[in-house]
């Protein structure tokens, strides 16, 4: 499991961990039932404090991404990927609508917007 922590990021470290583990799960890199490192091991590997990984794992558990069994460790929970995908799509639609509204206000054409999106997407 690869996790990259940036100390200079504005995003708190525990959020960096939760969002990266979420992505790994959504991208299918971490499969349902897969073991993930214990929070104490992860803290040691990342050279951060235990309370930080503890908080990250607690949030992941609350969001239903992982579950922990005392004495056994933490595992990737069953994910209803279809539902998550639909939710994400809905969020994307909303965000794009806002982009379109903004574009119209300054008279940006669809072609220009598509070009911009293309550049950003291929970044």
């Amino acid at each position: 499991m690869q996790i990259i922590i940036s100390n200079s990021s504005k995003e708190p470290i525990y959020e960096q961990i939760t969002s990266q583990i979420k992505s790994l799960i959504l991208a299918g890199e971490l499969q349902e039932g897969a073991t993930i490192p214990s929070m104490r091991n992860l803290a040691k590997e990342l050279q951060i404090s235990v309370i930080t990984t503890k908080r990250a794992y607690e949030e992941l558990e609350k969001a239903g991404f992982i579950y922990s069994i005392v004495g056994k460790g933490s595992f990737v929970a069953e994910q209803n990927l279809e539902v998550i995908r639909e939710k994400k799509l809905k969020v994307i639609e909303e965000q794009l609508s806002a982009v379109i509204t903004n574009s119209r206000e300054i008279g940006l054409s669809l072609d220009e917007l598509q070009d911009l999106l293309k550049i950003l997407y291929e970044g």
């Binding site: 708190p12 104490r40 404090s49």
Partner: protein, 288 residues
């Protein structure tokens, strides 16, 4: 959550200095960093934790036990590392082990020799020939060889170079994989704590200012910068300490949310480092 150390209303007076009304809890399974300027009362508190000093008032419990009745049982479960060598400096590690090991019921020679090997310590050389870093490793090897549940360290990183400090933090992090271990260590080098501490206990002028998780410290404390004309009697109440310069003010708050409500976007709010907090509180704690 269980507290391994519990100070209740502890006071100790000396002729020219005192530690007052300390209520301190150290949580099991975590690293608590004990910070404060030199002379803030850290060593006095650690000495009371080790029963080298007795409080005038108040109660100190370790593992829920009292020193009056359970001194030996408590000390069996503590590993200690002090600033500077407390072992007989003319002796080598083998002889020191011969003196220290029989004191503990749970001394483990195997673990001891593992650490000797890991830390690359010579067994037959007098401790006084060791470098500062090696002396620290020697103390640590002894502190870790009797399956201690609580490791108390007084300024273990003082006088060590940055590379060795990193190494030490790595060793401590490895110890924390075992969830029953608790580490309490004092330091005035606050950057040591960024990587490893779960809780921060902060002393200032003989008082405990706070003992919070690093998340709470990060959420509550902030450095606020803005134009001088924003300050007046009411708005200043949001700050613990304000430093004025001709170019504007820099202030410390322990209530970031309140500051956001009062000033909105008219000020810059930055994370307060432990050093920022120590600096702004150096004059003592009093709301402006």
């Amino acid at each position: 959550m269980e507290n391994v150390v519990e100070f209740t209303n502890v006071t100790k007076k000396f002729k020219d200095f005192s530690v007052k009304n300390i209520d301190l809890q150290v949580k099991q399974g975590f690293v608590t960093g004990f910070i404060g300027a030199n002379g803030a009362g850290k060593s006095t508190s650690i000495k009371m934790m080790m029963n080298l000093l007795r409080p005038d008032v108040g109660e100190i419990k370790l593992f829920g036990l009292d020193y009056k009745k359970h001194e030996k049982a408590i000390k069996e479960r503590i590993g200690f590392v002090y600033d500077g060598n407390v072992f007989f400096e003319g002796l080598n590690m083998k002889d020191i082990k011969r003196i220290v090991a029989p004191a503990y019921k749970h001394w483990d020679d195997k673990v001891f020799y593992q650490y000797i090997e890991k830390f690359e310590l010579p067994l037959n050389k007098a401790i006084k020939t060791f470098s500062k870093g090696m002396q620290m490793k020697a103390s640590l090897a002894i502190a870790l060889s009797h399956h201690a549940e609580l490791i108390i360290m007084d300024e273990p990183t003082a006088g060590l170079d940055p590379i060795f400090r990193r190494e030490l933090l790595g060793i401590l992090q490895e110890l924390m994989i075992d969830g029953n271990r608790t580490i309490f260590f004092s330091t005035h080098i606050t950057t040591d704590l960024d990587r490893i501490a779960d809780y921060i206990a902060f002393m200032q002028s003989g008082e405990l200012v706070f003992n919070q998780s690093i998340h709470d410290v990060a959420e509550n404390y902030a450095i606020v910068k803005g134009r001088l004309d924003l300050l007046d009697r009411d708005t200043e109440k949001a700050f613990i300490h304000v430093h004025r310069a001709t170019t504007g003010f820099e202030a410390l708050t322990d209530n970031t949310k309140a500051v956001q409500n009062i000033f909105g976007n008219s000020v810059a709010i930055d994370r307060a480092s432990l050093e920022d907090i120590m600096y702004h509180l150096k004059g003592g704690i009093h709301h402006v």
